[in-house]
Symmetry: C2
Subunit: 165 residues, 2 copies
DNA sequence: AAAATTTATGTAGTTAACTACATAGTTAGC
DNA sequence: GCTAACTATGTAGTTAACTACATAAATTTT
């Protein structure tokens, strides 16, 4: 874009900037999934991959390790189960827990999904010009926000400004 | 987070990673706005700032220069007008167009908002460790996606993979 | 000058995240 | 062993973006 106001604002609009990029990417991913008539939602890929690695685990375990709030995972797991991609069994020791795992249907589909995931990966690598150092910056942001939340930082800066007046 | 699966996936989950960071930031910004009982929505700041610069312009002009779809702007402008922060008049030459500008109420509030925006800015600068080079990477991603959409890139990679089989 | 196309705005419904709240089961403290 | 606190899951409603469609006005084509 020629006159991109958000870009012009620089770091001031960092969150809008990040949101805009990720929104564009997920929109385009969704578009191709639709075109190819894939039966799964784009945002299920993290759950598929995580369960490939972990095999069996509970909803809150998934939420914690993906860094999402648990209701987000509850909703995705519900949809994936309805489509037959997940098996759920109750934990015998702790009856509150649901033990989630991939179904046979999921395991059969995964090779096809992997072609899709790998293509997406290549497209990402391409837009990054094979330079992965942006990840270092993202790691650092994550680290800083873990240390002290953005809410706290923002609030402190605000209170400082008020005191100076 | 100790075991962060999204981080572990690296560039493969770039879009989820970007989304997660921006979501966290906007959530925290919203939280402080609520705490301080500010009468405006966090995502209005781009419109306020843009109209400070442009003074008068149409909805689609705003949409184009912020890089959003027009209905997003329509909705925000509607809410801001209802709260009395925007004036709208019909363009005499082109009766389809609405000419939008900041109201007196908006101009009176802006000094207070600027304290907030500046504090947010400082917090962002702080999490970036005063190193703005992440912006260069984002600029580059924007540039690449402008050249060739992510949808096209992803599709090409997918078709290539299919042909190789 | 009529018809076709394009542009500006608006509306309705979708998505993927969230918070706040509810409920049931588990663990800890006394 | 009862009560209180915590944990796992689930539900309802919110948010900010979107697409698809609708309509009216302006512009272009024929």
């Amino acid at each position: 874009m020629d006159n991109d106001f958000i870009k012009e604002l620089g770091y001031k609009s960092l969150d809008s900037r990040l949101k805009r990029v990720s929104d564009r990417m997920s929109r385009d991913i969704r578009k191709l999934y639709k075109e190819l008539d894939v039966d799964i939602e784009p945002n299920w890929y993290l759950i598929f991959m995580f369960l490939q690695k972990k095999e069996k685990c509970s909803i809150s375990y998934i939420a914690e390790h993906l860094g999402y709030a648990h209701p987000s995972i509850v909703v995705i797991v519900k949809k994936m189960s309805e489509k037959g991609y997940l098996k759920t069994e109750q934990d015998h020791l702790d009856k509150r827990k649901q033990i989630i795992s991939l179904s046979d249907k999921a395991n059969k589909l995964i090779p096809k999904l992997e072609i899709l995931w790998n293509s997406c990966e290549k497209a990402i690598l391409d837009i990054l010009d094979n330079d992965l150092s942006i990840l270092t910056y993202l790691d650092n942001i994550d680290l800083k926000l873990e240390e002290t939340s953005f809410h706290f930082r923002f609030k402190q800066e605000y209170l400082n400004s008020k005191n100076k007046l």
